[in-house]
Symmetry: C2
DNA sequence: TTGTAAGCGTTATCAA
DNA sequence: TTGATAACGCTTACAA
């Protein structure tokens, strides 16, 4: 492993000069610079980032904690954009997968210890249900690690990048009404996350002069979205008169809903139009291909990265804080 | 940020003694040890890993390169198991997402540079179609970075963890035959990856005394598996007599296949049984829920991590090399 | 335009 | 049982 010292010897100059030549700062004679660069290339020099981090106190490492229930394409697209943006800025992203069992306090502690032990320049949280986001954020801030949360559903009192789901639901409902549906139901899900979607439905229904039809299946909400979608379908089919369209909380829930309709021989979209939310891959692969609302994943990932870079560089906080929100996009397929 | 020096001052001992107490090596008086540990806790000491890496030459960082086309639950389950195993062993995983455009040479170069710049203790490759795995492996080995490839479909001449797909296909075909299907077809995909599945089909068909029916849709293979599944369905339906079952190359391909069957009103599994491969989430969410072959994702991730740990520690290479292969598991649902 | 040298926090050798 | 000290590779204040 070639170090500055080796290059200095090879080029017959001092370490300081090598440093200047490589960093291209200060005065270096053009001839010296050439010589140094040649030596560096010949010895295939690569700076030792541990040494640099030690000296400068900047690890150029960024921790990313991701819930184990979030190993899907939505989060990964965010993560990929996040990582690429930071890599381009000279940072490296250290990923930590959250505890396999939700709410495992000990494992969360270990994870945090592993993260903080690396003295990350910043950290990002990709939350999941049951992840103690607020606690984690507090610990990070206690260690003076700037952080950001991607798409949280509760207010965690920290900078975050959000997705405007209400608008997406609003557009989807309007779209179905525009195709002649007059009884558009809404299938809700996790009550903790309801505020992100329900108001969009309500606004659309109000503007359209329709009657709101909420489909809460009997019983408490359970986190298995597919099963919930199935149970909701039973409740939906029991309604009289039967609605002719439904906006679901998520694509997965729509899958459970669709399954029951298929089993009963109810045609989609002829008898019931179904719209999902998320635009997961299943949405294009299921039958019929699902009209749904696409999340701006890459933008969210990039924005999170940029917020962290700004905080690391100590740029002044903008008036409204760093948080941003991005719009969704309606993707029309064959289920409506 | 407390350092050894701070603790030494607080405890009234030398840096070396603090080091001994914390590492619990060599002779330290019990009373001194207690005092040091107390001081460390009080100052909330955390070792500076950059300094340690600089001194020991061991970064305890592991690079993981993942293709951008692989941002799905299959790869992420592998990645999560990989990361957890390594974290437990004191390593941290640095993830790099491959170029968004396949075959972007410049971007691959940058990526490799970013990776090698961190002097990783080892590296893992999660390949995708079009990723220059062999080249990358060569570069890594040139930099003396031990590496492993997860589930490659070509022989990359380096240690890898593989999945025994043939056995999975074999079992699925036998399962369909066991349910009274006598004309079981096989829907192939990417010819580069065919060898991992086709022989399993051929073996099952031979043992069962059935006639092999290969369904190659007309034209060259194109990487859009869903579209390929659709085109294959057209070819399948043109066969006379029509087969009563099909084993597909992948779940996604099965989705395309199913879509066409649904459009034609052909009942699954009554008229045609369909089996997939991968056990993606779509397999349980589609209609009807898909019989498929589950990959041992977590095991593959763990095994890859353990191979790297063994190589890092310089353990002697076993007789047959480090590579391992894991069996799949047939998951029976309603499509067969 | 170039060089000397201190110091980041850790590890580990050697001496006390 | 403990301590003084050098060294890892880099950055940078200061000197030449």
């Amino acid at each position: 492993m070639a170090s500055l010292k080796h290059i200095a010897q090879a080029a017959g100059v001092s370490v300081r000069t090598v440093n200047r030549a490589l960093k291209n700062d200060g005065y270096v004679a053009e001839s010296t610079r050439k010589r140094v660069l040649r030596a560096a290339r010949r010895l295939s020099y690569r700076p030792n980032l541990s040494a640099r981090a030690l000296k400068t106190g900047q690890s150029h490492e960024i921790g990313a904690v991701i819930g184990s229930a979030s190993l899907d394409e939505l989060h990964m697209e965010k993560m990929a954009a996040f990582e690429r943006t930071l890599r381009a800025a000279g940072y490296c992203v250290h990923v930590l997968f959250g505890p396999s069992r939700v709410g495992d306090k000990a494992e969360v502690g270990d994870l945090l210890e592993a993260l903080l032990g690396r003295r990350p320049a910043a950290a990002a949280l990709f939350p999941q249900s049951g992840m103690p986001v607020a606690d984690t954020v507090r610990d990070l801030q206690g260690a003076r690690v700037p952080c950001v949360v991607l798409d949280p559903w509760e207010d965690v009192g920290v900078d975050s990048v959000r997705i405007d789901r209400q608008q997406g639901v609003y557009e989807a409902v309007k779209h179905m009404a525009g195709r002649g549906r007059h009884r558009v139901a809404f299938l809700g899900g996790d009550p903790d996350k309801a505020c992100a979607r329900l108001p969009g439905y309500q606004r659309a229904v109000r503007e359209l002069g329709l009657t709101p039809i909420l489909v809460p299946p009997p019983g408490e909400y359970t986190p298995d979205e597919y099963a919930w979608g199935r149970r909701s379908a039973e409740a939906f089919l029991a309604l009289s008169p039967r609605p002719d369209a439904i906006q679901t909380f998520s694509d997965v829930m729509a899958m459970g809903f669709l399954a029951v309709l298929h089993e009963r021989g109810i045609r989609v979209p002829e008898e019931v139009a179904v719209a999902g939310f998320d635009d997961r891959r299943i949405a294009s692969f299921c039958w019929p291909p699902l009209t749904t609302v696409r999340q701006p994943n890459a933008k969210v990932g990039e924005a999170a990265a940029e917020i962290l870079l700004a905080k690391i560089e100590g740029r002044p906080t903008p008036a409204g804080g760093w948080s941003r929100s991005f719009p969704t996009r309606l993707v029309i397929r064959e289920s409506t």
